[in-house]
């Protein structure tokens, strides 16, 4: 299919378009399907972009940090904390290390235990926040040294739970893109069905057009243009409704966690504009293929 054919297909010719009756259930089917699929595509796109953002954030924010937990009897806790800070200050790759205050530790436990828990009466371990420098931290070496000098210290470099979380977010993103491909495939299948039904319903018209000397390309164009424009306008409506839905989603917040960060951000808002174009392209190819095959059958 060359450039000239595509241009001819996209140029509206009201008189030529009239050869196919303008109404029929296939028109409504195409509009509805492309609208519904575009609506779903907007949400999947938003989910996929949000998953990507989340994966990036977890990967970057947590990669350069580690936490040291001191589990020691109350009377040894301060001494072991001091010893650990000394070790950390002498360890290459540690940019900074500081012990969390009682208030900061209470804030971390607040979501689980509520505000009225008497933390000072409980044996809470002391947490030390470590920010890695450049070059990075030799966690294996640090663990060995801490094991010798600070017996109650447990080093958590976040690897244990950061990687599964990033993997999960990346999987979610991949799932989003697979869903978009499936939506495209389902749209193509439905448009093909509708185009085939329309071609079959208009077999007599095709026969008349052939009798007066119409080439297959003329007949196919009449159908392809119609389905392409229907798919485009259906998708425009679907995208507008989908974007309205995304706009109404709650803003991202710490309290809501991941579920409140699903919306579109920045240039991400421009991406749904591609959906009607992609929908039209899918309908174009699906109808062209269906029409070519059907016209061959009818000859």
């Amino acid at each position: 299919m060359n450039k000239e054919i595509i241009q001819n297909l996209l140029q509206r010719d009201a008189r030529a378009d009239r050869v196919v009756p303008p109404t029929g259930y296939t028109a409504h089917l195409t509009l509805f399907v492309s609208g519904a699929m575009a609506f779903l595509a907007v949400f999947v796109l938003a989910l996929s972009l949000a998953s990507g953002r989340l994966a990036d954030r977890w990967a970057t924010e947590l990669a350069g940090a580690a936490t040291l937990r001191i589990n020691a009897p109350a009377d040894q806790l301060a001494a072991q904390t001091e010893a650990a800070l000394t070790v950390l200050s002498q360890t290459p790759g540690v940019a900074s290390a500081r012990a969390l205050t009682t208030e900061e530790q209470a804030a971390l436990l607040l979501p689980w235990f509520g505000p009225d828990l008497p933390l000072d009466t409980l044996p809470i371990p002391q947490l030390i926040e470590i920010i890695e420098g450049d070059p990075g931290l030799d966690t294996a070496g640090l663990r060995l040294r801490l094991g010798a000098e600070v017996p109650g210290a447990v080093l958590d470099d976040h690897t244990r739970w950061r990687e599964p979380l990033v993997d999960a977010a990346m999987s979610l993103r991949r799932l989003g893109w697979v869903s978009i491909l499936l939506i495209g495939g389902a749209t193509a299948a439905m448009v093909t069905l509708a185009a085939n039904a329309s071609l079959a319903a208009n077999a007599q018209i095709i026969e008349v057009l052939r009798l007066v000397g119409a080439r297959d390309s003329f007949i196919a164009r009449a159908f392809v243009r119609r389905f392409t424009y229907r798919a485009f306008f259906g998708a425009v409506v679907g995208v507008l409704l989908g974007m309205t839905g995304v706009l109404l989603l709650p803003e991202a917040s710490d309290e809501g966690g991941f579920l409140t960060g699903l919306g579109l951000r920045g240039v991400g808002w421009l991406l749904p504009a591609l959906i009607p174009l992609l929908g039209a392209a899918v309908a174009f190819l699906a109808t062209w293929t269906a029409a070519s095959r059907k016209l061959k059958e009818l000859s």
């Binding site: 008189r15 009239r18 007599q204 057009l209 007066v212 000397g213 297959d216 016209l295 000859s299």
Partner: protein
């Protein structure tokens, strides 16, 4: 123009035409007659490429029709105007749009000026029915609109399948005069009809060869008509 050499056509195991040879020369006028079911429509369909011979050779304008692809066949049909018994219009389009359909499909839509269409439709007596829809036309009007559509591309050959089948005597004479007029303009005309009175009436207007299909073969009809 159109030549059949030993053409046979078989459908569903039965032979409808057997070893038919026929030449439609430029500017000639032919009637094709025979009882219903004799194969007149089949022969016409072979002439405009809607059917291909089972055996034998069919050529149109010097080309072997069997060797044409679908695009070439479309170009061939632009040189052959066909008037069908059932007219075959697109009922959702007006008479003017239906008549200009051959111009539209051949990429000459801009040539379909309303005043030219009006002139053509006036020639067939439908000057006031440009904007009517086909279902609103009488049988005779439909046939005349079909004649207008068949000639709008100024084809070399006009084939008419029972053009007077659904009209009264007066209208059949009117249609006959239109087809005779086309022949005088140099068009090759072949009319398939079972109406012998139409053939007799034509004798005073045009020098026509009368062919009869009988027992799956085409013969030149005798003086008994």
């Amino acid at each position: 123009m159109i030549e059949l050499e030993n053409v046979s056509y078989t459908y569903g195991g039965g032979e409808l035409l057997s070893d038919v040879s026929l030449q439609l020369q430029s500017g000639s006028f032919h009637f094709l007659t025979g009882p219903s079911g004799a194969g007149k429509t089949t022969l016409l369909k072979l002439c405009y490429g809607a059917l291909l011979p089972t055996s034998g050779r069919l050529s149109a304008f010097g080309e072997n029709v069997a060797g044409l692809d679908r695009d070439q066949m479309a170009l061939l049909r632009r040189r052959i105007g066909v008037v069908h018994q059932d007219c075959r219009f697109l009922d959702h389009m007006t008479v003017a749009e239906n008549v200009s359909l051959p111009l539209m499909v051949s990429g000459q839509a801009e040539a379909a000026k309303r005043e030219d269409l009006s002139e053509l439709l006036s020639w067939v007596g439908l000057g006031s029915r440009l904007d009517a829809l086909p279902p609103e036309l009488s049988g005779g009007e439909r046939q005349r609109a079909a004649v207008a559509r068949a000639v709008i591309l100024s084809p070399d050959v006009v084939l008419a399948d029972e053009p007077t089948g659904n009209v009264d005597w007066e209208m059949s004479q009117r249609l006959l005069r239109l087809l005779v007029e086309l022949n005088r303009m140099g068009k090759t005309v072949l009319i398939a009809t079972h109406d012998l009175s139409l053939i007799r009436a034509a004798k005073s207007h045009v020098q026509a060869r009368v062919l009869r299909i009988s027992q799956r073969q085409v013969q030149l009809a005798g003086a008994d008509l």
